[in-house]
């Protein structure tokens, strides 16, 4: 399940990577802005795509806490658990 989430998330992130950042650079510990060079506008695009792909709703705090790929997976997992409770 976690691997599936990671694969889906990687596909979403890949769309917004700058041209000089390779898809292979996306790892669990990648920092979305400082390492993958995703700008704030594309970070919002990723958040909105994540909402659609995982059928969850994210808040401002979630975005602030979503520094790395791992953070994103943790938040997705938590939100999905909350929505099925």
């Amino acid at each position: 399940m976690d691997q599936q989430h990671l694969d889906r998330l990687k596909k979403i992130i890949a769309v917004y990577l700058p041209e000089d950042v390779d898809q292979g650079a996306i790892t669990l510990t990648s920092d979305l802005t400082s390492e993958l060079n995703i700008n704030s506008s594309h970070l919002v695009d990723i958040i909105l795509d994540v909402e659609d792909a995982f059928d969850i709703t994210l808040e401002n705090d979630d975005m602030d806490n979503m520094k790395t790929v791992e953070d994103a997976l943790r938040i997705i997992k938590k939100k999905r658990a909350e929505s099925t409770e």
Partner: protein
């Protein structure tokens, strides 16, 4: 959604962070939570006509895009922020134009008055995305497209 009637929106106009020669809003005609409408007249003696093109002045697409952004995106964004922050001042927010996808359909000439109408797609996580259209006085469409920008209070991350 509420719409403020009988108002010239001078409070919003005063908050626009632009100055001549890069100020492309004369009048805000309407503003609501979901849309903005305003007008601008391209001055006949504007600096860009000297080079675009010599002897054949026509408003550059980049200026049309900026006019669409100032009226359709920035006035709408300031209005949306001001709804929750009544004392918003000119130095209290930051903005960045992040994306434009515009089609240019007919030319705008020196001295021409245009109207810009925008419809909000979303304003979430400080990002405002809106569909915009620019018309001339006869209703002919000059350009249309989708614009996005980031707009946040200075103390927000």
């Amino acid at each position: 959604m509420e719409e403020r009637a009988c108002n010239n929106y001078s409070d919003i106009l005063e908050l626009l962070p632009y100055a001549s020669p890069f100020h492309f809003v004369d009048e805000i005609e309407s503003l609501s939570a979901n849309s903005a409408k305003g007008s601008y007249t391209f001055p006949e003696d504007a600096f860009y006509y000297r080079g675009h093109f010599p002897g054949n002045p026509v408003t550059p697409g980049v200026i049309l895009t900026e006019c669409c952004a100032q009226i359709g995106l920035v006035t709408l964004g300031i209005y949306l922020i001001k709804k929750d922050h009544d004392s918003l001042g000119k130095d209290d927010f930051r903005l960045a134009f992040t994306q434009a996808d515009i089609q240019f359909l007919s030319p705008a000439y020196p001295g021409q008055k245009v109207h810009v109408v925008s419809e909000k797609e979303y304003f979430r996580f400080h990002k405002l995305k809106a569909a915009v259209k620019m018309f001339d006085e006869s209703g002919t469409i000059i350009c249309k497209g989708v614009l996005s920008g980031m707009l946040k209070l200075k103390d927000e991350k």
